[in-house]
């Protein structure tokens, strides 16, 4: 019998490096159209004059950043790189994670982006000087392509993230209470207006990853499951009733969107993860 030889598509490690370097820079200089559109809409609907002014400055900031290749925010973030690797793709001429790390190094250096990573986080906190290492999440998917998403995550919002292992009986109300309380307590610190990422179900670490991935969805695109979409809408409305507003100085626009991802979980568990994203929602993707 002839052995089945899988048809593999070759992708050079150096192309991955180059792509990551470009994505890190573009993410920091160019705010995505969906974010800009949501901010412009909020500028029209915001009732607080001060809130309106802040939204105006945020939009103007995006224009200056793109025109001058200046980072949207001086905190150019932790580089979180999501790799969706087709099972028929073959990485050649180098090691995949080394290639991604090198891309982050080159992108942050060539783009004059701020290097914010420190080693020995509880003691020396020594800057690694090139914003490495990135946080890399890998998923194997059908096909022969590699999709790369670079999420440049600012710490102000990341610091306000939360994980709660609720009791199954806490249910929908328990989730609403937790999410609204998390946003309320975070107040001005995560740089509202926010995008609120939720991971519901799975395990502790699974829920956190779902919450972060939820941030990558185009702003305001509802979850395909109508029950989840309804939860997203209710949460958005409850969050915007908190009055925190742009930069936390009062207003109607505390969040631009709530994105929830849901997975099955254990009979004894109801993990809920909240990952907050500031208004400077920076991520870019490419397919090789």
């Amino acid at each position: 019998m002839r052995p089945i030889v899988p048809k593999l598509r070759e992708i050079k490690a150096s192309d991955i490096t180059e792509t990551v370097a470009q994505l890190c820079q573009r993410a920091n200089f160019e705010l995505d159209e969906d974010v800009l559109a949501a901010l412009k809409l909020a500028q029209q609907t915001e009732e607080s004059p001060l809130g309106k002014e802040f939204l105006h400055q945020i939009i103007e900031n995006a224009q200056i950043a793109e025109r001058k290749s200046l980072p949207l925010c001086q905190d150019c973030g932790t580089a979180v790189v999501f790799l969706e690797i087709g099972q028929e793709a073959h990485i050649v001429d180098g090691d995949l994670y080394t290639a991604v790390t090198e891309g982050v190094r080159q992108g942050y250096t060539q783009g004059y982006l701020r290097k914010s990573m420190v080693s020995q986080p509880f003691s020396a906190r020594k800057n690694t000087k090139d914003n490495t290492p990135p946080v890399i999440h890998t998923e194997i998917v059908p096909g022969d392509r590699v999709k790369i998403i670079c999420l440049c995550k600012g710490a102000g919002a990341e610091n306000m993230s939360k994980l709660a292992m609720l009791k199954p009986g806490d249910g929908r109300e328990g989730i609403i209470d937790l999410v609204v309380r998390t946003v309320d307590e975070a107040g001005a610190d995560p740089c509202p207006p926010l995008i609120v990422g939720l991971g519901i179900g799975s395990t502790a670490e699974g829920a956190m990853l779902l919450a972060e991935k939820a941030l990558l969805r185009p702003i305001g695109k509802p979850n395909p499951d109508p029950e989840v979409a309804e939860l997203e809408q209710e949460l958005l409305s409850r969050i915007n009733d908190l009055g925190i507003g742009p930069l936390g100085l009062g207003g109607r626009t505390t969040a631009l969107a709530v994105h929830a991802e849901v997975r099955p979980t254990h009979i004894a568990s109801l993990p809920v993860a909240v990952n907050l994203q500031c208004h400077s929602a920076r991520h870019k993707e490419a397919r090789l």
Partner: protein
């Protein structure tokens, strides 16, 4: 509210006129310092060493700018979260600091210290570092160069936009703003 133009170092009389919600345009010199630099300020105070700059009447801006491209003086330079500096702030106010610029609200201890030492807190637009960079005219690293983005920088600014969030009368714009627009959980 009308915009007030202020110059730094800041005079006691000017501070008295600033009330929460007042938009300001700051010109003059301000000092960029954040977490790691604050840690060293406190160490210096503990060891009775000289601080890297005389704090009397000065403004501290909580920021760690991104690097300057060739031909430019600075990269993006927006405010970082002020709450992380709360633990250090009362002692710096006692040393003479008259104003801070940052983002996010301050602790009750800091707010009390602001009243006691007659100092104010300004909020600049978080996440608008490219816009705020346009007001920076000169940059000089004056201490702790080894801290990189966290080194202490003397910034010369022109019409740097901010808003008074805490004044010497104990008012807090975060509380006022949220109370005005809150519909839930009252």
């Amino acid at each position: 509210m009308d915009t007030v133009k202020i110059t730094s170092p800041i005079e006691a009389k000017t501070i008295e006129e600033l009330t929460v919600g007042t938009p300001v345009l700051i010109s003059g010199v301000i000092y960029a310092a954040r977490d790691a630099a604050h840690h060293r300020f406190i160490q210096a105070l503990d060891n009775r060493e000289t601080l890297p700059f005389p704090m009397k009447g000065q403004i501290i801006y909580y920021t760690g700018p991104s690097p300057a491209r060739p031909g430019r003086i600075i990269g993006s330079v927006g405010p970082t979260t002020s709450a992380r500096m709360d633990g250090y702030t009362p002692r710096l106010l006692a040393a003479g600091i008259k104003a801070m610029i940052g983002k996010g609200s301050r602790s009750p201890e800091v707010r009390e210290a602001m009243q006691k030492y007659k100092a104010v807190y300004f909020v600049a637009t978080g996440g608008a570092g490219a816009l705020l960079a346009q007001s920076i005219k000169k940059v000089e690293i004056i201490a702790y160069e080894d801290l990189g983005a966290e080194a202490v920088r003397l910034l010369t600014v022109e019409n740097f936009p901010a808003i008074v969030a805490n004044d010497i009368y104990g008012e807090d714009l975060f509380e006022q703003g949220r109370a005005q627009y809150r519909r839930w959980g009252k």
